[in-house]
């Protein structure tokens, strides 16, 4: 079993970080060695690095920019990121910053990623309730911009449609057509539709490839 890499990209606020954290935890529970790379040099708030202690407690290695979680507004990456490409096995999640702006940081690693023995998976996370990507055409436009900036190709789509704390099962069911249409337009597989764990039983059997997720990214008062 060789090294495997999941790259998580998408529009701002589509839920990339929460999805990345869930993937990392899931793989860890399967007994894998897991690294998570916070590649977001755009957004100083609500990011993977904010959950460093939680992840470390769960046995996951976190690689984040030196500036993350500080008041330093310096978009610089750490050389530690290169270590994930030297690993011969294990599993790495790369949580990319939003849009093409965030994905440009990924571009500098594109050659290394393409040179890995196992093909990479690049997942484009979508959320129907995000105003700028609420139509499949708009989502695809942003996906193409991300691909151009990262010099990598998206390999699958995850439907992470949600309305934060007030998400209902109906909301998720109502996003399925959008997700299918987006995947079709992209010519890519719809890998999964996520749902907060508490809605999973309600949606069981009604959603193809349902992926229950824990809501980890929260506001301080929730």
């Amino acid at each position: 079993m060789g090294k495997s890499i999941n790259i998580i990209c998408g529009h701002y606020g589509s839920g990339k970080t929460n999805f990345s954290l869930n993937l990392a935890l899931r793989k860890k529970r399967e007994g894998k060695t897991v690294d998570i790379v916070d590649l977001d040099i755009v957004n100083p708030y609500f990011r993977t690095a904010d959950y460093k202690n939680f992840l470390v407690d769960n046995g996951i290695r976190v690689i984040s920019p030196a500036s993350a979680g500080t008041t330093l507004d310096a978009p610089a990456l750490t050389s530690e990121i290169y270590s994930v490409f030297d690993d011969v096995d294990g599993y790495t999640v790369i949580d990319v910053g939003g849009d093409d702006v965030g994905a440009s940081a990924l571009g500098r690693f594109s050659k290394l990623i393409k040179a890995l023995p196992e093909p990479y998976e690049m997942i484009f996370v979508i959320n129907k309730f995000r105003s700028m990507i609420s139509e499949p055409e708009d989502a695809i436009e942003i996906m193409r911009e991300i691909e151009a900036a990262s010099r990598l190709s998206v390999t699958g789509i995850v439907n992470n449609s949600h309305l934060a704390t007030i998400t209902t099962a109906e909301d998720i069911l109502g996003s399925l057509d959008y997700a299918k249409a987006t995947a079709q337009l992209a010519g890519l597989p719809l890998l999964a539709t996520t749902a907060p764990a508490n809605l999973a039983s309600e949606l069981e059997g009604r959603v193809e490839n349902l992926l229950p997720v824990e809501v980890i990214v929260k506001l301080p008062w929730n």
Binding site: G13, T71, M132, S134, E135, L163, P220
Partner: protein, 356 residues
């Protein structure tokens, strides 16, 4: 992009402010990037060209606010946004607009200060917004939303009041509100007619006398007359326009005062304290100027103590003390520099206040 109407969407505070301004009729945005408000400008950059509006990234914050002054002079709804250090640079232009009786909307998504400070959320520009948003005898309307939905609602309100009273308005948000995502419903205001501005300098076509937009008055008595006239308007505003929210105040013996993102934290703490039997309530100012003095005084009638919770060193305390005429002690709990108070910490302070 399809224009959704009365449909729930998930938006970042900064984006919601931008979209709300567009829906309120703003077609002229002038800005300069600064964390943590940059998404607002980025959103405007994407949207404005699609709707025939103007997005302009100026060479500096000072240039941007003066472009707002120019656009407002022509009678259109204009807007600029920044974060604390950038707003300091804008204060000259804000004063010129107040002195020229120009309505416009200024957004401050506050970060830690003073100086360059940090990029994490803060409320340490309260004094600047309510006391000295520029030089001279002046006020600006100051709105303090506490949710993404309220950011949307208050943008429209701020434009209406700014036009009505012919003065600049400010949305005083913070990095937390600007960056966080919440579901919002955006209303369609495209049919709402914008107020006529007879005073605007937008070309007289030889049909009327020319209008002059100016803040320079070299005759002392003339300047005094104009300032006094403005302060008569401020009196009306102080009487008519204060906004606030009361939460669990009816039988409250202890009152927490907090605004913006901090009020969400304080509310969570008040809720928890109530479940433990402490008679505590929250008064949340929604307008910081005009300050909701009557609401504070009413809450003070049966209160034993007040507690101000802020992301600053306690800039609102004096306003609370004045509003309640120092009827009972006003304590303070807060963090500054970008540190966010937790509900548990506020609960601890409420317990201390109730024991004292």
């Amino acid at each position: 992009m399809v224009f959704f109407m009365a449909e729930r969407v998930l938006m970042k505070g900064n984006e919601a402010l931008a979209e709300a301004a567009i829906r309120a009729g703003c077609r002229n945005f002038f800005g300069y990037p600064i964390t943590p408000q940059t998404e607002l400008a980025a959103y405007m950059a994407k949207r404005m060209p699609k709707i025939g509006g103007t997005y302009l990234q100026a060479e500096s914050e000072i240039a941007a606010i003066n472009m707002v002054l120019g656009a407002a002079s022509a009678g259109v709804r204009a807007m600029t946004s920044s974060s604390s250090p950038g707003v300091s640079l804008k204060t000259e232009g804000i004063s010129y607009m107040a002195g020229s009786d120009l309505p416009a909307l200024i957004i401050n998504v506050q970060r830690g200060g003073p100086g360059l400070g940090g990029i994490q959320p803060s409320q340490s520009d309260y004094w600047q917004a309510t006391r000295a948003p520029g030089h001279g005898d002046l006020h600006v309307l100051v709105f303090a939303p506490s949710s993404v939905q309220e950011m949307v609602d208050l943008v429209s309100k701020a434009y209406d009041l700014a036009d009505n009273y012919r003065m600049p308005a400010m949305i005083l948000a913070d990095g937390m509100l600007g960056q966080m995502m919440e579901p919002v419903v955006l209303s369609d205001e495209s049919d709402k007619p914008l107020p006529k501005k007879e005073w605007a300098a937008c070309g007289h076509n030889n049909e009327r006398k020319h209008n002059i937009i100016n803040s320079l008055y070299l005759t002392a008595s003339e300047l005094e007359r104009l300032v006094k006239e403005r302060f008569e308007r401020y009196k009306v505003i102080e009487e008519k326009e204060p906004m606030f929210e009361n939460y669990c105040t009816d039988d409250a013996e202890y009152i927490v005062v907090a605004y913006g993102a901090t009020s969400r934290i304080a509310k969570a703490a008040v809720k928890e304290a109530r479940s433990e039997g402490i008679k505590v309530g929250l008064v949340r100012p929604i307008t910081l100027w005009p300050f909701p003095k009557k609401a504070m005084a009413a809450a003070a009638e049966n209160a034993k103590a007040f507690l101000c919770v802020e992301m600053s060193m306690g800039q609102m305390i004096d306003d609370v003390k004045l509003a309640i005429n120092c009827k009972c002690p006003v304590g303070f709990f807060g963090h500054t520099g970008g540190v966010i108070p937790t509900p548990a910490e506020v609960l601890e302070e409420i317990k201390k206040m109730a024991k004292a």
